[in-house]
């Protein structure tokens, strides 16, 4: 039992040190292949926004905060795009059960995001996502510069602020 506790302390410590280190380490997007809504293969490493930073949001049709986040951002998305040229990839982690709901929800909600399907959570795992919603900002070099978990009303304003900083090339935490 003592050993287990010891191991756990080690892991915790490990997690924290890595956590502290990785914020400025900048991992890139993995070469995980997922699908577009039409079923075509697309690699996460090929996500791009014409040389500008972009945003990746993990969500699911059954995740209430995710829908709150996506709906809240959708209202501002048009303005944001005009202002900053932002692009949002909404990565659905719905599996075969709820996947058929993605397309009607997307078109019914009329969000305007680039929606991709990560049916077997390949990208979710590769990016270390625990639970949706989980949001990433990726800079023009394809490096992950910011991430955030959960959603509370108002988080979308934080996101656009950080995004603007990234566009300017400022360091973000």
């Amino acid at each position: 039992m003592k050993k287990f506790i010891l191991i756990f302390v080690a892991i915790l410590f490990c997690g924290i040190t890595i956590n502290a280190q990785t914020n400025n380490k900048k991992s890139t997007l993995p070469t995980v292949t997922i699908n577009t809504l039409e079923g075509k293969a697309i690699k996460a490493s090929e996500f791009s926004n014409e040389g500008k930073p972009f945003v990746i949001c993990f969500w699911a049709t059954w995740c209430k905060p995710c829908l709150m986040e996506l709906n809240a951002m959708a209202e501002l998305y048009g303005d944001w795009q005009k202002e900053t040229g932002i692009k949002i990839y909404a990565v659905s982690i719905d599996d075969a059960r709820t996947c058929p709901k993605v397309k009607p929800l997307v078109s019914g909600s009329d969000w305007g995001y680039e929606v991709v399907l990560d049916q077997n959570s390949e990208l979710k795992r590769a990016l270390g996502v625990n639970n949706p919603p989980h949001t990433f900002i990726v800079n023009e070099k394809g490096e992950i510069v910011w991430q955030h978990v959960g959603y509370a009303p108002g988080d979308e304003e934080t996101l656009i602020e950080v995004y603007k900083k990234v566009v300017k090339g400022e360091e973000v935490k």
Binding site: C14, E38, R125, G154
Partner: protein
């Protein structure tokens, strides 16, 4: 072994401490820890936890360097929190892999997850909330020899708690291949065609060593031996098409003879069909799905009946509810036979219209029904049951006479003003307790309502009020404890802190004591780290995700969760 693990982690940590890049690669990962302290509460049925403190935790550590990546997951269940299989007790490296990925080739050795098509014959996945993990251990190859063609090959055994799967013949070997062709990517002249076609097919075979199984004729004592097929094969073909606003997704699968503990050792071949049709336009989305499942339990060990060792994935065609009273009666696919239909309509009333109001209104309609399939039992075996026989015959389009589940959901989402958002939901559910294995119990009919109001306050803080109400005439105990009401208030501060209070009360219960299942929660989020603490009572229930369910026993006490990504 434990020392070795410790050493590995310390090495990783120290590397990390000294250099940001390990040999030029990157380390990422995530971490989650759940701690539970529950005390005895005979009224709600919470049992004494002799360990006082229960804990589940895992951490994924992933190393990536160009085309190469490798990772481990360390898991610890000391001891498993309530509702997790006690076989999880222990700690160790549950998952490790090394992978090499090029544009046209991807090779993974060790543990991996993968899915063929919709998963009707193969899906390796994890569902942490259910304590379900059927990770493969073996080899995976994905090749994309030309644009638009993907070939996958997998071989390995599936995880079974902490069992040493390679040291025992008890665990079957799973082999599978899958091919998928995107016609539009393959042929240049179709590339811009509005008609998009993707076709695929897969074969899976499980090698499970034959075991001796006998039946005895009761009057003569004569014994009969079942001849077990050792290679259980399955095949599936699928088609995905989209034309302008329409789309279609169809898959058909068949499984060879597979007498197993779930189907009662019959030789009847398995069959699954799935069809989904959709229409998607701006502001309107429609989807209708239908499926038929006939004897499709597919496991890599024929004697297994639990949630583990599933080779395929047969999710329920019903809505996955987020409001807790709506999920009171969960439905899981009846793998031995089920026919189901589900329809979804999502419509957005436009902004600045009479009905849509200033901000527009979201409307969602969902209907689903799951029914038994027609089964014509053929012949009895000498022992007077169906073991070792063909079992039954079933005509494809004929439904059986038993309804398992039916549900109608209406949901309305509306922004009332710049500060208020309202979500209303109604559901009518018909639930047959047989769907979760309770024979001979009465149907439950329930009307369920929810209203959910979010109020934006200053300084990025917000308040959320939620009321749910469940009304049912069925009031006889465990599965139908009468009417319920639930209220929640949640306060969010600057997207960092939140506090919430919930009370769930079965005020309409006739038999037994009415209980307030109160719960207080406190959370803090910073970047990718989230800490949540809750104290209160948790009612006994069932969580079903996909085709499998887990019992969540009642508890009364403290629950803490820490999650982090790095």
């Amino acid at each position: 072994m434990k020392k070795l693990l410790l050493a590995i982690f310390l090495i990783i940590c120290s590397f990390n401490g000294f250099s940001q890049d390990i040999f030029g690669g990157k380390v990422t990962g995530n971490f989650q820890m759940d701690v539970q302290a529950s005390k005895e509460d005979s009224i709600i049925g919470a049992e004494r936890v002799s360990e006082k403190l229960l804990m589940n935790a895992f951490t994924n550590i992933l190393y990536t360097n160009g085309d190469f990546s490798a990772g481990v997951r360390f898991e610890a269940y000391l001891n498993p929190i309530l509702g997790f299989d006690p076989k999880y007790k222990g700690a160790g490296l549950a998952y490790r892999f090394a992978s090499y990925k090029k544009d046209y080739l991807e090779i993974t050795a060790g543990n991996f997850y993968e899915q063929f098509g919709n998963g009707l014959i193969f899906r390796s996945y994890e569902e942490r909330n259910l304590g379900l993990d059927n990770a493969m251990d073996g080899l995976k190859i994905i090749a994309r020899p030309i644009k638009g063609v993907a070939l996958k090959g997998v071989i390995g055994k599936q995880r079974y708690y902490w069992e040493k799967i390679w040291e025992s013949d008890d665990f079957g070997l799973v082999r599978g291949i899958d091919a998928e062709v995107s016609i539009n990517s393959l042929f240049k002249k179709f590339e811009a065609s509005p008609l998009q076609i993707i076709a695929g097919g897969s074969f899976v075979s499980v090698f499970d060593k034959a075991e001796d199984r006998f039946i005895i004729e009761p009057s003569t004592g004569d014994n009969y031996k079942l001849t077990m097929p050792e290679n259980i094969g399955s095949a599936a073909a699928r088609l995905q098409m989209s034309y302008k606003a329409f789309n279609l997704n169809a898959e058909y699968a068949r499984k060879g003879q597979d007498p197993n503990a779930v189907n009662g050792y019959i030789f009847h071949k398995g069959e699954a069909a799935y069809l989904s049709l959709g229409y998607a336009a701006k502001g309107l989305g429609i989807n209708v799905s239908a499926k038929r499942i006939d004897n499709m339990s597919y496991k890599s060990r024929r004697g297994e009946t639990g949630n583990m060792l599933n080779v395929n994935y047969l999710p329920a065609l019903t809505r996955q509810h987020a409001y807790s009273l709506f999920a009171m009666y969960p439905y899981a696919t009846q793998v031995n036979g089920e026919m189901g239909i589900q329809a979804d309509i999502i419509y957005k009333l436009k902004k600045n219209t009479f009905l849509g109001g200033k901000y527009g209104t979201d409307l969602k309609l969902n209907y689903s029904i799951a029914n038994s399939i027609d089964k014509e039992y053929v012949q009895l075996n000498p022992a007077g049951n169906y073991e070792g026989t063909e079992g039954y015959s079933s005509s494809f389009f004929k439904a059986g006479d038993e309804i398992y589940f039916e549900e109608l959901n209406l949901e309305l989402g509306k922004k009332l003003s710049s500060d208020f958002k309202l979500n209303l939901m109604y559901s009518y559910q018909t639930f047959n307790p047989i769907a979760i294995g309770h024979q001979g119990e009465k149907f439950i009919y329930a009307n369920i309502f929810a209203a959910d109001l979010t109020q934006k306050l200053k300084k990025r803080s917000s308040l959320r009020y939620e009321v749910q109400l469940l009304l049912t005439e069925q009031n006889y105990g465990e599965w139908a404890a009468g009417d319920w009401i639930q209220g929640t208030v949640e306060y969010n501060l600057g997207g960092k802190f939140f506090v919430a209070a919930t009370d769930q009360w079965n005020y309409g219960k006739l038999n037994g004591e009415k209980v307030h299942y109160y719960n207080f929660a406190l959370g803090y989020t910073k970047g990718t780290t989230r800490v949540q603490l809750s104290y209160g009572k948790q009612r006994e229930g069932i969580i079903c995700i996909g085709g499998v369910c887990r019992m969540v026993p009642a508890s009364n006490g403290l629950f803490a969760t820490i999650t982090s990504s790095f």
